[in-house]
């Protein structure tokens, strides 16, 4: 979003505008973090429909409690924490429904066109392998390697200790090694 000086508004500036009643300023924050966090939600929940619902809910919850965001400059991190919690709830609900982990069809359609068949198979293997992980392991693996967070950041977001997170990541890697071995050697 462009401010009066042509500079992009900071998160803190946008949060301040929203809190002072300029509700439309919130749309700039939605646009800023929409795609970035959609990736995590899609991989965590395994399908786009649940991911969009979780992300919508996270944005709505964040708006409701915006005045409680202690560091508006880090609105994105605060929002991400809400989303991670929301994905946990959604994941637990899905398990109770007995729904299987499914691949993201839209992402598959957007895959590289150079070798579409191979690319699609590879993505399917990845999504299947992710779905085989426990929710805790999948969360830790995605945060560490896909979102490239440090363990301290992960601990802050998840509320889980660093050593426990390291263990989850290690176990996720071990499991993925087994699940993807055949694909890797093919």
């Amino acid at each position: 979003m462009q401010g009066p000086t042509g500079m992009e508004s900071s998160d803190a500036a946008l949060v301040a505008r929203v809190l002072h009643g300029e509700v439309n300023a919130y749309s700039a924050l939605v646009s800023r973090y929409r795609d970035k966090y959609a990736r995590y939600a899609v991989h965590m929940l395994g399908n786009r429909e649940d991911a969009e619902e979780a992300l919508q809910d996270a944005f709505t919850r964040a708006y409701r409690s915006l005045a409680r965001c202690e560091d508006p400059e880090r609105f994105g991190a605060w929002l991400f924490r809400i989303l991670v919690n929301r994905c946990r709830t959604s994941g637990a609900r899905r398990v109770r429904r007995g729904q299987t982990f499914v691949h993201d069809e839209t992402a598959l359609l957007n895959a590289s066109e150079e070798h579409p068949a191979e690319q699609t198979m590879w993505r399917e293997e990845i999504e299947r392998a992710l779905g085989e992980l426990s929710a805790d392991q999948r969360e830790a693996f995605l945060l560490k390697y896909v979102e490239e967070l440090g363990y301290d950041e992960m601990a802050e977001i998840t509320g889980v200790g660093v050593s426990a997170l390291k263990m989850r990541v290690m176990r996720a890697c071990d499991r993925l090694r087994v699940l993807l071995r055949e694909v890797h050697s093919a």
Binding site: E52, Y63, A67, E70, A107, Y145, V183
Partner: protein, 181 residues
């Protein structure tokens, strides 16, 4: 990264890091929800009420002794009945109390005063370590917390914790009903 299957892991991560793009209809759907919340808040008159929040009534010291019971009675209702959602439009005086002998200041922040934004926190008076403040709160379900020494968020120990408590700060649930008047 672990030394196993390094190439496989790198390829996997590279694939997973591809952006997932949502279209602009997503933004519109979010903003519909957000504007609805904004309209509801305006309807409740919270924003208008906030301007007068600093002119809260101050109770004498003896009121503090009674105040704990007021909040407790109102809060305990959440265990016994389905919370009443949505604005009714009636403001009921509620007294908030926190026992904090070592505190230098105590204020009440909640969804009913926009979480203390723009100096709208309800500043409590100290009665020998018993901090209390009274304010009108609209009927409905609310979340609130005490702000101790201007920085420490403390949930009300006499009230139920709010269920929706994943925003990094503790908060308590408060049910204000017309029948408690």
């Amino acid at each position: 990264m672990p030394d196993w299957g390094r190439t496989t892991l790198e390829l996997m991560v590279q694939e997973l890091q591809h952006p997932v793009r949502l279209d602009e209809s997503f933004d519109r759907r979010v903003m519909v929800r957000v504007r609805r919340i904004y309209a509801e808040r305006r309807h409740r008159g919270i924003i208008g009420w906030l301007g007068a929040a600093t002119n809260i009534s101050r109770r004498p010291a003896w009121a503090a002794a009674l105040a704990a019971g007021v909040v407790a009675v109102v809060s305990v209702a959440i265990f016994h009945r389905t919370p009443q959602q949505g604005p009714v439009g009636q403001a009921i005086p509620v007294q908030f109390v926190l026992v904090a002998p070592d505190a230098h200041s105590v204020a009440v922040v909640g969804d009913f005063n926009n979480w203390g934004l723009n100096d709208t926190a309800l500043v409590a008076e100290n009665h020998n370590g018993v901090w209390s403040v009274s304010a009108p709160v609209h009927t409905g379900v609310h979340r609130y917390a005490f702000l101790v020494n201007g920085k420490q968020w403390v949930a009300d120990p006499t009230a139920p914790r709010a269920a929706d408590d994943d925003f990094g700060q503790p908060s308590s649930a408060l049910v204000v009903e017309a029948s408690t008047q």
